[in-house]
């Protein structure tokens, strides 16, 4: 069996990865006195899978929300498919947003609707397809995430991981060009995580989807990432391939790769042991 990185290298990635489709230019964002993003600039290219890593609370989810203009930057610009979107009205944004799929960190399923209605939601809102056609697409998308047959359940009856996967099925329902995944494998068992990783790869290979993945899961970074960026204290402090990440000598990146905390970070829990 060939290692994953080899299959990717055999892929002519130079032609697969195209021009930037999403771009943040000098974006700053603060919530009250908390400065989350400081003058962040980054480009995401067509067909490329970019993984965003960073400490909990670093602002990764905030970045994703800026990309679909759910949050507006305090200063700076957000461009998407050649248009500046941070100054658009909600009405103008509709056309832009239908090109996106967004998997929310907590799933964000509509709890008054069934699983099937949740996944069908973008199809019902943005297409004129017949009900039987929609039902077929819904069951196909649910099969992709391993949940076909749960159509009539309510989100409250599902486990956390199942909700996440329904959210993923909903995000890909319209076959979007750009998919934003906020921690797609968190809360899933290792086998299921691997299936989701394969799904992300498959969508990228077959539909040439541009993916932006926020994750804490180093196994999936290595498996799906074409490029890794790391957010730390409101800035991107690392930008490179997963291979470069492995050999990086930036301290905080090393700690992420090795999954190891420094002595001073452990001081808080050591104190308790000693009088």
């Amino acid at each position: 069996m060939m290692p994953e990185s080899d299959t990717r290298q055999s892929d002519p990635s130079a032609s697969r990865i195209g021009a930037p489709v999403v771009e943040l230019r000098g974006v700053s964002k603060r919530f009250g006195s908390l400065e989350v993003l400081r003058d962040v600039s980054v480009k995401f290219r067509r067909g490329e899978t970019t993984v965003i890593i960073g400490a909990s609370g670093a602002g990764k989810s905030v970045i994703l929300k800026h990309i679909v203009s759910l949050l507006k930057p305090d200063s700076g610009e957000v461009h998407c498919r050649g248009e500046r979107i941070d100054t658009m009205t909600e009405r103008e944004l509709v056309a832009v947003r239908t090109h996106f799929g967004f998997l929310f960190q907590m799933g964000a399923l509509f709890d008054s609707l069934t699983v099937a209605q949740n996944v069908a939601f973008p199809l019902v809102e943005h297409t004129q397809r017949a009900a039987s056609d929609i039902a077929k697409t819904v069951s196909e998308k649910l099969r992709m995430v391993g949940l076909d047959g749960l159509q009539e359940k309510k989100p409250a009856q599902l486990s956390g991981g199942q909700r996440k996967r329904v959210g993923l099925a909903r995000a890909i329902a319209l076959d979007p060009e750009i998919i934003l995944y906020d921690e797609p494998t968190t809360g899933l068992d290792p086998i299921r995580s691997d299936i989701i990783n394969e799904l992300i790869l498959k969508l990228q290979r077959e539909l040439n989807v541009t993916s932006i993945v926020v994750t804490h899961d180093m196994a999936s970074v290595r498996k799906i990432g074409d490029r890794v960026v790391m957010l730390h204290e409101g800035k991107f402090i690392f930008d490179g391939s997963p291979e470069e990440m492995e050999t990086s000598d930036v301290k905080i990146v090393r700690q992420f790769v090795e999954g190891r905390a420094e002595d001073e970070q452990l001081a808080g829990i050591r104190m308790k042991g000693k009088p």
Binding site: K65, L70, E90, L93, V94, F121, H126
Partner: protein, 270 residues
């Protein structure tokens, strides 16, 4: 120091006030532009059921007992003064103009306003509203307009229902228990309660419905994070609606009596 604090507070409340009106404006715009699409009407029906049908029992009980209490309270004094036959006038005028609209609206605010704020607030803190926006559906169109319409249209209808219940219950006390003769009772009532009074009651309840729908949805959409934020938004919504209803009631009463006198002169009921 104090001045800056006051300044900031005023600034914040002015900002919130502006946001509230923007919210109303967007809702109104969607109401008109969305009117011609079938998919929007499909969203309205469940809300009518939720707001209307489910509120009937509480509204019926409120109306009935208010009518009976009024009759019991008024009878002795009127009887002593020899005006017992005109009790229907007092009873029905109070019901149609004041107590019907106000109490029905307050009940509706408690029963529906709280539930709406809680529902939308929970959707807000669990990112469901963001999810709607991210999928290119305007949450105002999808969530607010159907709920607002249900409040706006059903508040007058429920008020009318409360009026009828109260009026029937009151006349049952008067005619059935206190032995006021039926004919003069209805004659005086019909004579006194004019279209004008019904109109005032209707306009009041329409405005109250507007307040309930708008404030409840606004509070749900702008609540703070967490279960605590949702709980607080519900309380704030109820209090704000209640106070707004009483204040608006006062101004409409003042305005409508003034207008009546200007148009028709003073009308004596006794």
């Amino acid at each position: 120091m104090i001045i800056t604090t006051i300044g900031r507070k005023t600034n914040n409340s002015l900002e919130a006030f502006g946001r509230f009106w923007m919210f109303c404006l967007r809702t109104t715009r969607w109401m008109f532009t969305g009117m011609f699409q079938y998919r929007n009407w499909r969203l309205v029906m469940p809300q009518f059921y939720e707001v209307g049908n489910r509120s009937l029992p509480v509204i019926a009980i409120t109306g009935t007992f208010v009518g009976m209490v009024l009759a019991v309270q008024a009878y002795d004094q009127l009887h002593a003064a020899g005006f017992a036959e005109r009790m229907g006038v007092l009873l029905n005028l109070t019901l149609v103009q004041e107590l019907g609209p106000v109490l029905a609206a307050v009940m509706l605010a408690g029963r529906v306003g709280g539930a709406l704020t809680a529902e939308l607030g929970t959707m807000n803190v669990t990112e469901q509203i963001d999810a709607l926006r991210a999928m290119g559906s305007d949450p105002i169109r999808y969530l607010v307009v159907p709920r607002f319409l249900a409040c706006l249209i059903l508040c007058p209808m429920l008020t009318l229902f409360a009026d009828v219940c109260g009026s029937l219950a009151g006349s049952w006390i008067a005619v059935g228990l206190k032995d006021i003769p039926y004919e003069p009772y209805t004659y005086y009532t019909m004579d006194a309660v004019a279209k004008w009074d019904m109109g005032v009651g209707f306009i009041k309840s329409l405005i109250f419905g507007w307040i309930i729908g708008m404030v409840a949805c606004y509070k749900g959409f702008h609540c703070r994070a967490g279960a605590e934020g949702v709980g607080r938004a519900c309380t704030e919504a109820f209090v704000a609606i209640f106070i707004a209803i009483l204040i608006v009631d006062f101004f409409i009463a003042t305005f409508s009596t003034g207008l009546y006198k200007m148009l028709y002169g003073f009308k004596s009921l006794v």
